[in-house]
């Protein structure tokens, strides 16, 4: 077997390892082993690449890798689970940037004038999508890290301006295909960076999980494009796997929000709210209760459903909520968690946060499962969530969240809201459930109120 064949064989094994890594994620039991298989595949692929005949600049490659690893390891080790979405956005963005650089560098090496049109097309795709993913992820990172306001940012004639920039990029790309020029590809790269920024600017708040998933898919596609440019099957397979799975996940997320992907990307949902702000419901009456009352109510229930939202994560209250659940379970109360698909800042984020607090995954129920049991629950405890339990999604066709699948907390015998204030949720819509006569509220930071409840339950 020649060296070239051996290397190709290693790449094939790596591609299989990547598929197995994704497949392992179909069950929490096998997921970790799967990820290690994926990492081993990656090591094999990197090792095989070092064996490529004629690979120059070995020292430079190793220095670059050491720099990358020296930055990545500490940041990946230390990041808090609540900050995971921005970390994933950051790692995703650098991948997209690398893909764009690979495509454009390969073009410079081979001379644009002599490059076949289809190859040029592959390069352009890699450059455009990779750069958009890079700048878009950087902006998403800044939003999630609160380096800038997380809400949608709008300006006059936003859609028209964005359309003009996109059209400009398209014209530029066609021009390059007709008369190839590396300089113009650089211009296109810059325009694509701008495109990534203006794509992400109007997306904020609860739509960010969908956005992150979409950007992940972008990088995958950019990597696949680089694979076409370099004629490397491993890059094509791995990039396409991620691209396709990312688009699938993105669609699933937008369905969970009851909206179409274009609506999420272009409607600047929630931006009007920031203008009108709070209030609007000041004259309506809500019932508050003491922690003691609620503690007794829960302690003598048969079934309690905990519905966590991002407020729980912000207050770092996932450990206390687990303590409360254990305390109730010890008294014979059946407790489970109802997780809305878009709870948190990225798809499935809430599950990770609860897992961090050692909540066994067997107690986590997805929306459909939870709703099936909601009618028999004595108490629905809503912690730092709002829109995901708002019955307006079922009952008022005029509401912006109408049609969004929700957790039917209103079907439980009693509803308890732990809320910081009466401020509406991200969508800025008043929640009828707050005024329902079977609802009681306990105001305060999620962690503090949960601690009070823990005290109340252990005393009752």
């Amino acid at each position: 077997m020649s060296r070239g064949t051996a290397i190709e064989l290693c790449y094939l094994v790596a591609a299989i390892a990547f598929i197995l890594a994704l497949k392992g994620l179909s069950s929490p039991r096998r997921a970790r082993a799967g990820n290690l298989v994926g990492a081993a595949g990656m090591l094999l692929a990197i090792g095989a690449t070092f064996a490529q005949p004629g690979l120059a600049h070995l020292a430079l490659i190793i220095v670059a890798m050491v720099i990358g690893a020296a930055i990545a390891v500490p940041s990946a080790r230390m990041v808090k689970m609540t900050a995971m979405p921005q970390m994933v956005a950051a790692f995703n963005g650098v991948g997209g940037g690398a893909a764009a650089l690979v495509s454009i560098t390969e073009l410079m090496r081979t001379d644009a004038q002599l490059t076949a049109t289809y190859k040029l097309l592959e390069v352009l795709f890699g450059v455009v999508v990779g750069s958009m993913s890079f700048s878009g992820s950087a902006l998403a990172f800044a939003k999630l890290q609160e380096l800038m306001p997380g809400r949608p940012i709008t300006y006059k004639r936003q859609q028209q301006i964005n359309a003009v920039v996109a059209a400009g990029a398209a014209v530029l790309a066609i021009r390059i295909l007709i008369t190839p020029s590396t300089a113009l590809v650089w211009v296109l790269l810059v325009v694509s960076l701008v495109l990534g920024v203006i794509l992400v600017l109007p997306i904020g708040g609860a739509d960010v999980p969908v956005l992150i998933s979409l950007l992940n898919s972008f990088t995958g596609l950019a990597v696949a494009a680089s694979g076409f440019v370099l004629e490397n099957n491993l890059l094509i397979v791995a990039g396409t796997l991620v691209g396709a799975s990312g688009i699938f996940l993105t669609r699933m997320m937008s369905r969970a929000m009851g909206r179409s992907l274009p609506n999420i990307l272009f409607s600047a949902f929630g931006s009007v709210v920031t203008a009108t702000g709070e209030g609007g419901s000041a004259d309506r009456v809500v019932r508050t209760a003491t922690a003691k009352d609620i503690g007794i109510l829960m302690a003598y229930s048969r079934r309690v459903v905990i519905i966590p939202g991002y407020g729980l994560a912000v207050a770092q209250a996932q450990h206390v909520v687990h303590e409360l659940a254990d305390l109730l379970a010890a008294r014979g109360v059946e407790v489970f968690y109802a997780i809305h698909p878009v709870a948190g800042r990225m798809p499935g984020h809430m599950n990770v946060l609860l897992a961090e607090a050692h909540v066994p995954y067997g107690e986590l129920r997805d929306m459909d499962e939870a709703n099936a049991k909601m009618g028999t629950a004595d108490v629905a405890l809503v912690v730092g969530a709002n829109d995901t339990v708002n019955p307006a999604a079922h009952s008022s066709p005029g509401s912006p969240i109408y049609g969004m699948p929700i957790i039917n907390a209103d079907e439980a015998a009693h509803v308890v809201f732990l809320k910081r204030s009466m401020r509406p949720g991200f969508a800025g819509i008043d929640n009828e459930l707050l005024y329902d006569e079977k609802t009681v509220l306990l105001f305060g930071d999620a962690k503090d109120t949960l601690l009070e409840l823990v005290g109340a339950v252990s005393e009752s």
């Binding site: 929490p28 690979v102 410079m108 995954y361």
Partner: protein, 117 residues
Amino acid sequence: MTTGVLEYLTVFALAIFVGIEVVSKVPSILHTPLMSGSNAIHGVILVGSMLVLGAAHTGTEEVLGFAAVVLATLNVVGGFTVTDRMLEMFRPRQQGGAPGERGPARPADGPPAGSGQ
């Protein structure tokens, strides 16, 4: 267009279906590790970056290739590390299981985790 491109397109088309097929079986509780895991996998662009830097013959190409390798390494190393950290936390219900098997492990790793938060 040569037959070579057609072969790559074949691989591309098949990979789309494999990607969707595999991911559609992932339960929603693992969606975050899925995103982070697939994020690590597209870090395979490191292979492309190495090839490009390894073939560079002008200063500009070296600089660009070098930057690509740094960025791609960040992606790979960060992606796999973060995913592993997350998956480590997913554990099955321990009280309900066979007492001999998982039961004793609980008190051993429970307290330090509780006090560590």
